[in-house]
């Protein structure tokens, strides 16, 4: 009964769509991380391709701009030998008034096997997943403030790569939690994988009012929040999602919450620094840290390809 209530799982409890990390059993998260580990090897070979999804048509449906996520999904699909069709919807039929579901129905009629959906409205990928035929898979590539599961998973892969065991870690997520779908996916993933101490650090105006319910410790002071953490997960300050006055100025934000070498020194000496990109240097992160020895920001991008290959191939096989 519980399994059937999760729209991401099929009747056997297997992953059919990836819409959110929330509610996914830990076994599925581990399966994705383990499968991604095997794909890392593939991307280091002479021929960086496997024939797994040969003949499948994967549509990148981006209703909101994105470079990194769209490109890494495209590379991942191509490395699985799928055919990828990129649609930037704001410049196609949507501007002529076609509804999202009409767009999707038309693409499904073109024999699509999978949709990768990025949308400004929370829940849009759920709407699409409910209306497509049961042989079509949907992956959420970021919806509004809600979720960005593949980003959360690639962050987990990166943490596991450098720190191995989640159950011994102290992790801090820093910055604009309120507007961040990345933060929500990270919190669900870290909690599911058994991180014992999860902290969020940010100004009151950028933390959701119910954030304590997610099982995290809330800090408003970087000096206290970063003390002895193993992993620092920075978030982008989301200017485009802010209406009204959440902050006095980016300079003010940097002074209190920007990650500098001085602030990072409060974390454990072997702490790693993640950022989902694109970075606002000098707003949430200082260049010395972003390009420094503790930064794993570029490996995150590389691992993102392996994670997306893993998610696509697991979905296609279920």
């Amino acid at each position: 009964m519980f399994l059937n209530s999760n729209p991401q799982l099929n009747k056997n409890g297997e992953l059919h769509h990836l819409l959110s990390i929330e509610g996914l059993p830990v076994e599925i998260l581990r399966q994705i991380l383990d499968t991604a580990q095997s794909f890392v090897g593939v991307t280091q070979r002479e021929v960086k391709k496997v024939p797994l999804l040969r003949g499948k048509a994967i549509f990148n449906l981006f209703f909101e701009p994105s470079t990194r996520t769209r490109t890494t999904f495209e590379i991942a699909a191509k490395r699985l030998s799928a055919d990828v069709i990129n649609l930037a919807i704001n410049i196609s039929s949507q501007s002529k008034g076609e509804s999202v579901l009409d767009t999707v129905a038309n693409l499904a009629a073109m024999q699509a096997d999978m949709f990768i959906v990025r949308h400004g409205q929370s829940g849009a990928p759920y709407l699409i997943a409910r209306h497509v035929g049961e042989d079509i898979h949907v992956i959420n590539a970021g919806d509004g403030r809600h979720a960005h599961p593949t980003q959360g998973l690639l962050d987990m892969f990166t943490i596991r790569h450098y720190k191995q065991d989640f159950t011994r870690l102290r992790v801090a997520i820093v910055g604009d939690i309120l507007h961040s779908r990345v933060a929500r996916s990270q919190i669900h993933a870290l909690t599911t994988l058994g991180v014992p101490e999860l902290r969020v650090i940010g100004p009151k105006t950028l933390l959701p009012s119910n954030v304590d319910n997610l099982g995290v410790h809330v800090y408003h002071d970087m000096a206290k929040g970063l003390k002895d953490v193993d992993v620092v997960m920075m978030l982008r300050l989301q200017n485009e999602r802010m209406q009204g006055s959440f902050l006095p100025s980016p300079q003010e934000f940097f002074k209190f919450y920007g990650l500098t070498a001085d602030k990072l020194a409060l974390a454990r000496p072997d702490a790693i620094v993640l950022h989902p990109g694109p970075m606002n240097r000098g707003v949430e992160i200082d260049s010395d840290v972003a390009d420094g020895s503790q930064s794993v920001i570029l490996p995150q991008v590389t691992f993102g390809i392996a994670i997306r290959m893993a998610v696509m191939s697991i979905l296609a096989g279920n």
Binding site: E14, Q31, D34, T35, Q37, S38, V40, G41, V42, R45, E46, V47, K49, V50, P51, L52, S313, I314, A316, G317, N318
Partner: protein
């Protein structure tokens, strides 16, 4: 069907090693197909005293039954710690049956480079081929009903054993 007595895997491995010995050189690359073939490759590598480290292959991403079965089992990373290009290779599998695994393994190998040659060694050849594939080195041949699978197991002391069990 009546149970058939399975031969001792350790004796078969000794026979296989003796067969292969005159046909390997210092530069031969052994590649074991996970998991049984990888255990065999490890043992063969040590008893044949080969210089080149042995490789392991998980053919999950190349299987022809992905459409029906998906990625259910845990996939292990393939690791080939030597240059495949131009090398004489020997693929090692525990049980040779339909030949589909070997087809997948050869496809994967060619994505690492163009080997000079590929030969095949199997501890057990149980017939039943569905593809034109033959092994050059064979521990033994066995005839078993299609309802049964023959699997290689390894205990905690590293001893190998063949088991016959009904297919799941």
């Amino acid at each position: 069907m009546t149970a058939i007595a399975l031969p001792d895997a350790e004796k078969l491995l000794a026979a296989l090693t003796a067969q292969m010995r005159p046909h390997v050189s210092a530069q031969t690359g052994l590649i074991g197909i996970v998991t049984g073939g990888a255990w065999l490759a490890e043992r063969l590598h040590s008893s044949l005293k080969l210089k080149v480290p042995f490789g392991t292959l998980d053919v999950s991403f190349y299987r022809d039954d992905f459409e029906g079965k998906g990625l259910k089992h845990k996939v292990m990373p393939s690791e080939i710690p030597f240059e495949v290009e131009g090398r004489d290779l020997i693929l090692i599998d525990d049980v040779l049956y339909t030949g589909r695994t070997i087809r997948a393994a050869m496809n994967e190998l060619f994505d690492y480079g163009r080997p000079a040659s590929i030969r095949l060694a199997a501890l057990v050849d149980r017939g039943g081929r569905e593809l034109p594939i033959a092994a050059q080195f064979v521990g033994t041949t066995l005839d078993a009903s299609p309802q049964y699978s023959i699997d290689l197991e390894r205990d905690e002391r590293g001893r190998l054993q063949l088991v016959l069990q009904p297919k799941k």
